[in-house]
């Protein structure tokens, strides 16, 4: 048997073995697309079919209005972007120090990060809520503000961001900066002009992961946000279902699809780079 036929046979068996998992992973996407494009009478018909008899284009404007999708989209983007910026802004210097400098208590800081990484916000959610309620902000407190959610997301992503950035930074050769010092560059100048440009890919990958985790977060948003004008996308979609007597499932699925698809596409495209970094903290 030639190497080629062997590989073909292997391909067949591998895909056959993976088939159940592949079906289960793609099943929700098929359901979102199928239900999201159906008119409501077909959604509620029995037996349901995968293909709609006609595509209900009016689901888009109906859902957009019912979910106040534009506002929720803005909130999600705003909260995720600012939270990512916050986490990256404090994590980059810390990661630089971790990878380059001799610090007293570095081991301790590393352990602290690890412990905070393990803490899911849901275990502290009661305390987080009370903290937000005790911080004055504008006319009231941080409860029911985007700022409150941003601060919590930022803080809970620090551990991961520092960890990931530091692992990348150690792979950037020191010689680059040292050469710049010899050429008369100050330490800060070397960091700004030599180190940071080289670190941009690492920072972008970390930022993307942080953004996605903020985008997908549910528990903190559920606890902190009340005002419909401030809800994030995930929360909005869940609210279309929770506590409703009759649920417009085609709108829910369409909203869920629009909320997940962009993130899923970015993730799939960058998967190779992300996966490498995501496990650094776990396995290293």
């Amino acid at each position: 048997m030639s190497a080629r036929t062997r590989k073909l046979r292997r391909t067949f068996w591998c895909w056959l073995a993976l088939a159940p998992l592949v079906v289960l992973v793609l099943f929700p996407f098929a359901v979102m697309i199928s239900t999201g494009l159906k008119p409501i009478d077909e959604v509620l018909a029995w037996p349901p079919t995968w293909l709609p008899t006609r595509i209900a284009w009016n689901n888009f404007p109906d859902m957009w209005a019912a979910a106040d999708f534009g506002t929720a989209l803005f909130n999600s983007v705003f909260i995720s972007v600012v939270a990512t910026a916050l986490a990256i802004a404090v994590a980059v210097p810390a990661a630089y120090a971790m990878s380059r400098l001799v610090l007293p208590g570095k081991g301790l800081y590393r352990q602290f990060l690890l412990v905070t990484q393990m803490l899911s916000p849901v275990l502290l959610v009661l305390g987080l809520f009370r903290m937000a309620a005790s911080v004055p902000w504008g006319d009231g407190t941080l409860v029911d503000t985007r700022a409150g959610v941003i601060i919590v997301y930022g803080a809970f992503n620090i551990a991961f961001a520092v960890w990931m950035l530091a692992s990348y930074f150690t792979t950037i050769p020191r010689d680059l900066e040292e050469a710049a010092w010899i050429d008369g560059c100050t330490r800060t100048g070397a960091v700004l002009r030599i180190f940071l440009p080289v670190a941009v890919p690492a920072i972008s990958v970390t930022a993307i992961v942080t953004f996605v985790s903020a985008w997908n977060e549910f528990t903190v948003a559920l606890t902190m946000l009340r005002d419909p004008a401030k809800l994030t996308l995930t929360l909005r979609v869940v609210n279309l279902v929770a506590g409703r007597y009759s649920v417009q499932w085609n709108q829910v699925m369409l909203a869920a699809l629009l909320a997940t698809l962009p993130v899923a596409v970015v993730f799939a495209a960058l998967q190779r780079y992300l996966v490498q970094g995501l496990t650094l903290g776990a396995v290293k």
Binding site: M32, Q111, N216
Partner: protein
């Protein structure tokens, strides 16, 4: 020092202060509106352990964690071994396997909730077409099916992370030991049992511990799909805690439950740290 300070300050403030609040609430008599009305010692803990729903949630958390982590690790070992092989379309297969990672848990839960809908869901019709079930099953309305469905969703969304760790482990095994073994006449099964599995062991252990921590804390799947119902039959500790804190207005009791959970997570984190340092020493 100045470089580390901002990150430390933010993390300590946003994690340290809530932690302090939870400790304080857990030993206080707290009104449903959050007013602290004096020290009560361990009364909140005692009340939690007297609540049959808490004890049931505790046991169910064990069931949930063991089932989800066990299922995830078992399947992930298989998937990682397959993804290690050289076959056509491997890149695509990897992307598909990793896809659930990109999706919000709450969105996955919503879509599965609808898919398992008793009267209009695609799961019922698909299983009937395949001849596996004969009539419609009200999956999420019955305790004996709702919880297993949630476990299944939990496994599905946990696989990507686990596979990634295991692929990292498999990549660290040098290929030439297999050649040496096959020259010595080892069968493939023997190679797996006596080489792959022992060499993968530390990575499997890490995957188990990390998954235990994540799954133990996992909130959105159960909250979105059943909110602990029907009839409190799917509560795990996190959902019980959330309901006590924000649904039933018992902050003191919820804080006590939080503290119990934090202690459990802390123990597992210590196990993980020890495993890691042993890895680095080896």
């Amino acid at each position: 020092m100045l470089l580390v300070l901002p990150s430390l300050a933010l993390a300590v403030a946003v994690i340290g202060y809530p932690f302090y609040e939870i400790v304080r609430l857990s030993v206080s008599n707290v009104s449903r509106f959050g007013q602290v009305r004096g020290y009560v010692g361990a009364a909140n803990f005692a009340r939690a352990f007297e609540d049959p729903n808490f004890v049931a949630a505790l046991l169910r958390t064990l069931e949930w964690t063991v089932a989800v982590v066990g299922g995830t690790v078992l399947l992930s070992v298989l998937v990682a071994l397959i993804l290690r092989l050289d076959f056509h379309g491997r890149g695509l297969a990897r992307t598909i396997v990793m896809l659930p990672w990109a999706i919000s848990l709450s969105m996955a839960a919503i879509v599965w909730l609808w898919s398992f809908d008793g009267d209009h869901g695609m799961v019922n019709i698909t299983l009937q077409r395949l001849g596996i079930i004969s009539g419609n099953i009200q999956w999420m309305a019955r305790p004996e099916t709702a919880f297993p469905v949630e476990i299944g969703v939990g496994i599905l969304v946990s696989i990507p992370f686990c596979v990634t760790i295991l692929l990292g482990g498999l990549a660290s095994i040098p290929g030439d030991i297999y050649e040496a073994a096959s020259i010595d006449g080892a069968t493939r099964m023997q190679a797996f049992r006596f080489m792959t599995l022992p060499l993968l062991r530390p990575f499997i252990n890490i995957a188990i511990v990390l998954n235990v921590i994540y799954v133990f804390n996992s909130f959105p799947i159960i909250w979105v799909m059943t909110k602990g119902g029907p009839d409190n039959s799917t509560h795990i500790l996190v959902t019980y805690l959330y309901e006590q804190a924000f649904g039933l207005g018992r902050p003191g009791l919820a804080a006590a439950v939080s503290l119990v959970m934090l202690a459990i997570v802390f123990v597992f984190t210590m196990i993980y740290i020890r495993m890691q340092s042993r890895e680095q020493a080896a």
